[in-house]
């Protein structure tokens, strides 16, 4: 017996099959028994989660549940916070990224990240996209030009900006800026893209474009997205993980989580009883 009718779940974006059982797919990220602390304060409790390759995993849960913190451990952005401490293991393509031998700079090239607020650099559009390859040592102008074009195309921004690549990225609209940030991330040639509420500051039309973009990108990239918007989670993800008070309560195929959640807390959250 479904606790929630499947009809109330909005249709998914193209390219995302929400009933797919991903357990057979090869794992891209495996977090094992992750505990995370800010100083004395523990924010993640024994989180274990597997993210399959070339899929979208949505992390949902009320504010302060630890979903963003979890996301940021995946490319070790939390290293930048003083007093942050992490226990447990995270395997990215079989490599434990908590290993001190891992170079975080290379890790972050491999695991890209898009932030809630678009953060274009106050530079021309071209330089924004070319930044990642440039810091990695690419100097050849024509290689960079090709890369910029292909990444902007993948991010569905090329048609809008191809005539003004030299104008400042600050002149773009909010939605365009966010797609620019996605293009900029693609330019570092990552396998995994982490998105921290990428559409929460955008208008509905721009949000729609970003969601469709996620559907296209997941054919080639593994995507983990944190979102506050449950409609969005249900539209764009193969797999959904529900966090509550620093614990991973439940994870499973998106359709199952939204129609047959096994935990009471998940159901309460999804039906809007709290959060």
């Amino acid at each position: 017996m479904p606790t929630i009718s499947p009809g109330s779940v909005p249709p998914s974006v193209a390219g995302v099959d929400r009933n797919l059982d991903m357990s057979a797919h090869p794992a891209s990220i495996q977090a094992k028994h992750l505990n995370f602390f800010y100083g004395e304060h523990q924010v993640l409790f024994d989180v274990s989660l597997t993210v399959p390759e070339r899929s979208v995993t949505a992390l949902i849960g009320p504010s302060g549940c630890g979903k963003s913190t979890f996301l940021r451990t995946l490319n070790r952005m939390n290293d930048l916070i003083e007093g942050a401490r992490c226990q447990g293991e995270i395997f990215v393509e079989g490599q434990n990224i908590m290993d001190p031998a891992v170079d975080v700079v290379l890790l972050r090239k491999h695991v890209g990240m898009v932030f809630q607020k678009s953060t274009p650099f106050p530079k021309p559009i071209f330089d924004n996209v070319a930044y990642g390859p440039r810091v990695a040592g690419e100097k050849n102008r024509s290689v960079l030009a090709d890369l910029v074009e292909s990444c902007l195309k993948k991010a569905a921004l090329w048609e809008e900006v191809k005539d003004r690549l030299t104008s400042s990225a600050m002149s773009l609209s909010g939605g365009q800026q966010q797609r620019l940030c996605i293009a900029r991330t693609l330019a570092t040639n990552p396998k995994i893209i982490l998105m921290d509420e990428p559409a929460s500051a955008l208008d509905p039309a721009s949000t729609d474009r970003i969601e469709n973009l996620i559907g296209e990108l997941c054919a080639n990239y593994t995507i983990v997205i944190v979102t506050h918007n449950m409609q969005q989670a249900s539209r764009v993800s193969h797999q959904t993980a529900f966090f509550y008070k620093g614990k991973l309560v439940e994870t499973g195929p998106t359709m199952k989580i939204f129609t047959h959640p096994s935990e009471k807390q998940t159901e309460d959250y999804i039906t809007g009883r709290f959060g």
Partner: protein
Amino acid sequence: MTKATLPAWASQRVSRRHEKLIQVVLFLCAALSVLTTAAIILVLLGNAVYAPGAKKAFFEQVSLWEFLTGTHWKPVDGPAGRFGVIPLLSGTVMVAVIASLVSLPSGLGAAIYMSEYASPREREILKPILEILAGIPSVVYGFFALKFITPYILKPALGLLGLELGTFNALSAGIVVGIMVTPLIASLSEDVIRSVPRSLREAAYALGSTRFDVSARVVVPAALSGILAAFLLAFSRAIGETMAVVIAGGQQPIATLNPLRGAQTMTSFMVHASTGDSAADSISRMSIYAIGIALFVITLTINLISGWILRRYREVYQ
């Protein structure tokens, strides 16, 4: 897991040795300030308290007691030399007190006006003017005091009262030093006053206060310790002020509190002594270091107290 088993993307650790080098160089830049302080202390102590080698330090020739309590300053070599710091100290304090009498009301008034009354436009004009006033070199103020304030303002005014004013006098020097530190008091106090929370002002207005009540009875008392810190900083600046005092204040080391006469401050003695031609390790020359220590210790102490008060003030409102 060993390095050999790392996947390609994680193991191609780029050599970042040059980044380490840059960090070390930048650290050395930052550490230079500590070296500077150490050098100041060593130089002062090494010439005033204990000198290695054949040279004799100042306090190896003059007792600390004589230095601190002596009321005569006559820095000459030989038996005629008298090294009591009181005259220089009295001159310094006198100039600094006059400067405070000038700068405290005007600086505080300006701070209150700019934070409570002035429109943003007006503030945009006033702030740069105060910055310009603060940016005018000390020599210019000294010249202004000597050639303008003393003969054309103070002399006629005091003449009406039947008082006689010297060409070089502590009063005019103190006044210009006060003008110099007014912008400092104004801008520091304004910052402090602005950090008083809006809610406090609104609460006071809601109780039927006039603007004066809010400014003088609520905001200023709430910001009082911060204003005190600003004042102390300005006072220490006035103590260390040199050229204006050298030019307008004269060179007579007399233990007096009469501002109408010339006075020598610690800083103006240092300038005076360094332009003389006594030998490098003569006691008259070494006395510069003793005065240097006194100046350093006094200003440092005041600055530390000011910083301490300001930190505590910030804790209250943050």
